[in-house]
Amino acid sequence: MANGYAGQILRVNLSTKGVAKQPLSEELIQEFVGGRGFVAKLLWDELPPGTDPLGEDNMVVMAAGPLTGLFVPGSGKTHFGTKSPATGGYGDSNMGGHFAPTMKYAGYDVIIVTGKAAGPSILVVDDSRVEVRDGAEYWGMGAIDCEKALKDDLGEEFQIITVGPAAEKLVKYACISHDFGRQAGRTGVGTVFGSKNLKAVAVRGTGTIPVVDPAGALEKGKAMYQSCYNKPGFQGWTPFGTAGITDWVNEVGAFPTRNFQTSYFKKYKEINGAALREKILVTDKGCFGCPIPCGKYSRARTKLGQVTVEGPEYETIALLGGNCSLDKIEEVAYANYICDQLGIDTISGGAVVSFAVECFEKGLLSETQIGRKIAFGDLESIVYLLEKIATREGIGDLLAEGVRTAAARIGGGSDKFAIHIKGLEWSGYECRNAPGMMLSYMTADVGAHHNRAWALGFDISGGSGSVTDLIQGKGERPASLSVFDPAAYAAKVDKVIELQHMRPMFDLLGVCRLQWVEIGMEVSHYEEIMPLISGKQMSLADLLVVSERVWNLTRAFSAREIPGFGRSFDYPPGRFLEERIPDGPSAGRVMSKEEADWLLDEYYRKRGWDENGLPTAATLEGLGLGFAAETAASRAK
């Protein structure tokens, strides 16, 4: 058995209730390391091309990494992957909590679920005992309520993932929920659970993970924690968590507001990290092995009732707060809770609701179609729409498909303000004045998700060549940042590619990236601890090559699965190319089609992709992905 790994893949076919266990192959470890790498390779190898995302043949892959569950900061990440019902292409999402460590203690690095159960079911993994059980009594429950019920029924030591009613109704952006408020929210991984009649997975593990040098790994792990504690930013991060960024994103004019109509929310101080801490915080909360807990348990009272919820995180504040124009942190927390119980991704959910409100304001959806008047800033409107979506009642049936499909059916030019890439709704950064971040979203393999490469800071810092202007401006954004400059834009392309390789590294290892991103723990620690755990040298450069391999493979996967996939899937929506930001710090800014084309041309060239954005055979072969080259070549014709 390879050190650092539990050593097995667990396969469960829900159609037959068949269970199989197979050794984790050395080749898979060598070429793809773990987590997101395992997800990408297993989907490529095992998913029949052309599979219906909601069909029996689709797979959900749950994967840990070699550091997951060990004494390493933030080693609680679980990676999920599937063919996305939201985009039709490669989909993945990850979450913190305690699930993947427990998977490994039970003996599995990977759990693959296929098939479709005859009726509502749960999967119970109790060390070596694996059983598909009847789940009828849990069907219909809220995702949080279901976790509580299963904890009561199975035992507190089980780690449990659940889906809510939205997944049962096949809402295309249903999430997987865990630990009473952690979510793998994006790309509809929860929807695929629902399509398989799978309500929950419960895992208990009592085993251990082999480590080649336990004493050395322990000492190195201690040093990594100590490194976090010693960082100057250590004490600054926890009090607000991700909500702490709200002020800054408004100051730089990048905050989604009123369905991305503008990028500055005047009442942002009512929904920021300080408001969360002062008005609704109960306690901080961390995931497995976390030295810098960013989770927040909150209790909020609104006119619709009182809720206790984990959050809101920044993304929820952006999409349910600014984008739906809720201007009280209590109301954002309430909408957060509704999404969590229904099992709706707060990012896509907030984006879809705000899209619907704009359609109503523009007369593209009528009061009769919707069932009532709706408005930005009205909590009752937001909750009404979320509940309609989760039940697919009335207008909810259309909105459950996501903004891309909804806009195609509503018409009237609504596609211009259906804010998505590849069918995945845009997360919490408005980018008309941030070309690097725009490119990050445009080229993100799963669609418009910020976690693939967060280049906004680089945009704001000037990227390159603008430092003098910046100093002279004393913090005012100089005009030169808003003007196309090939040198500066080329540097942004480089930065986006660099980040698109850096970030998967954490997902491969099965650790949270926030120790690096937020407080600056050095990434060199990972190459130092890996030999102590696995007995093999793995440099940072080696890991980045694997990241690049995964990035190209997931692009090839989407090319294989989506008819006509290529460059046309990488453009931002019409709003970002045609409408100038009306107010706030980024007022007047719009990205031109020419700028978008320039960025894509440069990006494809540097990636070794053709002008349609498809990896060339030579690029794939150079990354050890020769097996995907034939498919890529046929798509390019």
Binding site: P232, G236, V252, G428, Y429, N451, F458, I460, V517
Partner: protein, 77 residues
């Protein structure tokens, strides 16, 4: 007067030579905003500042010997 400015995470990429810490000699007390500009960094990139462990806004003027920490924006949820 002298101040010590610490950077970490993505902020460090913007520091001269990607250093974790820079010591600045200043002719007179100036605001945090001016200190950040002195380093060639756009103050907009700085999400929060601490001076000797206390949160301060960018108009705060540190004293001689102050330990300053510049906190970069995180990447969201």
């Amino acid at each position: 007067m002298k101040v010590r400015v610490n950077a970490f995470g993505q902020m460090r990429e913007l520091f001269p030579g990607r250093q974790a810490q820079v010591e600045l000699e200043l002719p007179a007390p100036v605001s945090l905003r001016d200190i950040i500009c002195e380093l060639g960094i756009n103050p907009l990139i700085v999400m929060m500042c601490t001076v000797d462990g206390q949160y301060r806004d960018k108009e705060f003027v540190p004293e001689d010997g102050a330990e300053i920490v510049l906190i970069a924006p995180p990447a969201g949820g």
